[in-house]
C-alpha cells in the first residue's frame, strides 16, 4: 500500500486527461464499440471511476474524500477495497483529500469515515468487481459461477483459463454508475478486513517526516494568532493597534466585531503581538464559581425528552432521559 501520491501523476489526471482512455465495460458488454477519446478524472459520487482506477500493472488506486486526521483511515480504506476486490493490500495506492481528484465524501471527523465513507468506496469496489466478473466470464467463455478470483485474477474452477483485472480494465475507465445493489463479499469470507494491519503513516509520524497541516510553508507566508476574550460574551470595545508597533515583524492588527488577531512575518512575533496587544473588553457573564460547580449542576433546570428521533434513526427502541 502506498499513500504517497506523485504530483506528476496528479497533473496528468488533471490536465488534458490524455492518459485516461475512455473505455466502457458497460458499453462493451452491451455490444457497443469501445469509445476512443479522453476525459479528466471524474469526482462524481455515483461513478465507480470517482473512487477507483486499475492500471495496466494491476495497481488499484483508491480516491477518497476522507483524509487521515490521525486515525489511520487510509490504511483501513485500503483494507476494505483490497478485501472487496480480492487484491493484495500491496496493490492498493491511496489518494486522499485532493478535491480535484477525490469525490466529496463529507467531513472527516471520526468513525463515519469507515461506516459512511468506507462503505461508499466498498460499494464502488463491489460494483467494479461485479462488472469485471461479468466481463471475465464472457472473455473466457465460462459461466460466472465457474470463476474464482485470487490476487486480482479470475480463473476457471475447472482449470486452464485465467484473466487478470489489468488485462480486463488496465488503464481504462470503468464508465459505470455505482450500483448500490451490487453484491458485497460476505464477512465470513474476509481475509484482510478485521486484521490488525500496521498503519502506513506511522513510520513517518514517528520520525518527523509526516506533513501535518501546521507544517505547510508557502513563500511569503505570514503567521497569525488570535486573541481570545477574557469571558463568555465579552465585547471588544477598544484596540490600541500601536501597542505592538515595537515588535519587529508585526504586519497588522486585525479586528472585526469581537474578533481580534495579530498578523506577523514570523510566528514568534505573532505570538508576542497577541500577548501584548492592548485591548479593552466589556464585562460579561463569567463562568460559574469552580467551588460551587457541583451544586450548580444538581440544581440546574432539567428537561425530560424522549429521544424517539434518535431511536428511529438508529433502529433502537431505547429512549434516553436527559436531566
Amino acid at each position: 500500500m502506498n499513500t504517497h501520491f506523485i504530483p506528476s501523476r496528479r497533473n496528468v489526471l488533471l490536465g488534458s486527461g490524455a492518459l485516461v482512455v475512455s473505455f466502457s465495460l458497460a458499453h462493451s458488454l452491451g455490444g457497443a464499440s469501445a469509445q476512443d477519446g479522453s476525459a479528466a478524472k471524474t469526482v462524481a459520487k455515483d461513478e465507480v471511476d470517482a473512487f477507483l482506477a486499475i492500471d495496466a500493472k494491476g495497481t488499484v488506486t483508491v480516491y477518497s474524500g476522507k483524509v487521515d486526521l490521525g486515525t489511520g483511515v487510509p490504511t483501513a480504506l485500503a483494507q476494505m477495497v483490497a478485501e472487496e476486490l480480492d487484491v493484495p493490500l500491496g496493490a492498493i495506492d491511496m489518494v486522499t483529500g485532493d478535491t480535484a481528484l477525490t469525490p466529496d465524501q463529507g467531513t472527516t471527523s471520526g468513525s463515519f469515515s469507515i461506516q459512511n465513507g468506507g462503505v461508499q468506496i466498498r460499494q464502488a469496489a463491489a460494483t467494479a468487481r461485479n462488472a469485471l466478473l461479468t466481463e471475465a466470464a464472457q472473455r473466457l467463455g465460462v459461466g460466472k459461477d465457474d470463476l474464482i478470483v485470487v490476487d486480482g485474477a479470475f480463473s476457471s474452477k475447472s482449470g486452464g483459463k485465467s484473466v487478470t483485472y489489468a488485462e480486463l480494465i488496465g488503464g481504462k475507465q470503468f464508465a459505470l454508475k455505482l450500483d448500490p445493489g451490487a453484491p458485497t463479499k460476505s464477512p465470513v469470507a474476509f481475509k484482510i478486513v478485521g486484521k490488525s494491519i500496521a498503519r502506513d503513516d506511522i513510520p513517518d509520524r514517528m520520525t518527523g517526516r509526516f506533513t501535518y497541516m501546521q507544517d505547510f510553508r508557502v513563500p511569503g507566508m505570514l503567521h497569525g494568532r488570535t486573541v481570545h476574550p477574557p469571558a463568555i460574551d465579552a465585547k471588544l470595545e477598544n484596540v490600541d493597534e500601536d501597542s505592538v508597533n515595537t515588535i519587529p515583524g508585526i504586519v497588522k492588527v486585525v479586528h472585526q466585531g469581537n474578533f481580534l488577531a495579530v498578523v506577523a512575518q514570523n510566528e514568534w512575533a505573532a505570538i508576542k503581538g497577541a500577548q501584548q496587544v492592548k485591548a479593552t473588553w466589556s464585562k460579561a457573564a463569567i463562568l460559574p464559581d469552580q467551588a460551587k460547580l457541583w451544586p450548580r449542576f444538581l440544581h440546574a433546570p432539567t428537561r425530560r425528552s424522549n429521544r424517539l428521533e434518535f431511536a428511529a434513526l438508529h433502529g433502537t427502541k431505547r429512549t434516553c432521559l436527559t436531566r
Binding site: I202, R205, M206, T207, R209, Y212, Q214
Partner: protein
C-alpha cells in the same frame, strides 16, 4: 535588531536569523530550519510536544530562549534521532507497537523516552510512567506508548 545566531542542530552547523533573542528555539527549528519533529502544542512547556535534546537532555524547546544557546550546544530533534529507513531503537519500538493515533505528541514521547532510557537501562513500568508524566497525549495511546518504551528498554 536582526542578528544571526550559530547553532548545532542534528550534527550540522546552521545559522538562524534572530529578531528577538528571547525567541524560543522551537520557532527557529520549525520555521527557519523547517524541521517537523518538534511541534507546537501549548507554547508553555506544559505538554511536551516540542521536546528536543540539548546535550543529551530532554528539554522543552518552546520555552528555551535562543539567547541561552550557542554553537557548542548539541541540539538533536526527532529527525536527528532516526529516519523511517534507519529508526532509533525507541522510534522502532514505537513503530512496532503502533504507539500513536494522530502522533502529534509522539515527538515528545520519543525524545523524552530516548533521553530517559539512555540513563536508565532497566526501568520499571512505574519509572517509565514517571518519566513521561509531563508529556500529554490527547488520543489516549498511553498504554501502547508505555509498552513501546518497555520494549525499547529490553531490546
Amino acid at each position: 535588531m536582526t542578528t544571526s545566531q550559530s547553532l548545532n542542530v542534528n550534527d550540522k552547523a546552521v545559522v538562524v536569523r534572530v529578531d528577538d533573542p528571547d525567541m524560543p528555539l522551537l520557532y527557529a527549528l520549525r520555521n527557519d530550519l523547517e524541521l517537523r519533529g518538534p511541534r507546537f502544542g501549548c507554547g508553555l512547556g506544559q505538554c511536551g510536544a516540542c521536546t528536543v535534546h540539548i546535550d543529551g537532555v530532554a528539554v522543552r524547546s518552546c520555552i528555551t530562549p535562543l539567547s541561552t544557546l550557542d554553537a557548542n550546544n548539541k541540539i538533536v530533534t526527532l529527525e536527528g534521532l532516526g529516519s523511517p529507513e534507519k529508526p532509533h531503537p525507541v522510534q522502532k519500538a514505537f513503530i512496532n507497537a503502533q504507539a500513536a493515533q494522530c502522533g502529534y505528541c509522539t515527538n515528545g514521547m520519543i525524545m523524552e523516552s530516548a533521553a530517559f532510557l539512555a540513563k536508565n537501562r532497566k526501568p520499571s513500568e512505574t519509572d517509565i510512567k514517571n518519566a513521561l508524566a509531563n508529556n500529554l497525549c490527547r488520543c489516549g495511546t498511553h498504554a501502547r506508548i508505555v509498552m513501546a518504551v518497555k520494549n525499547a528498554a529490553s531490546a
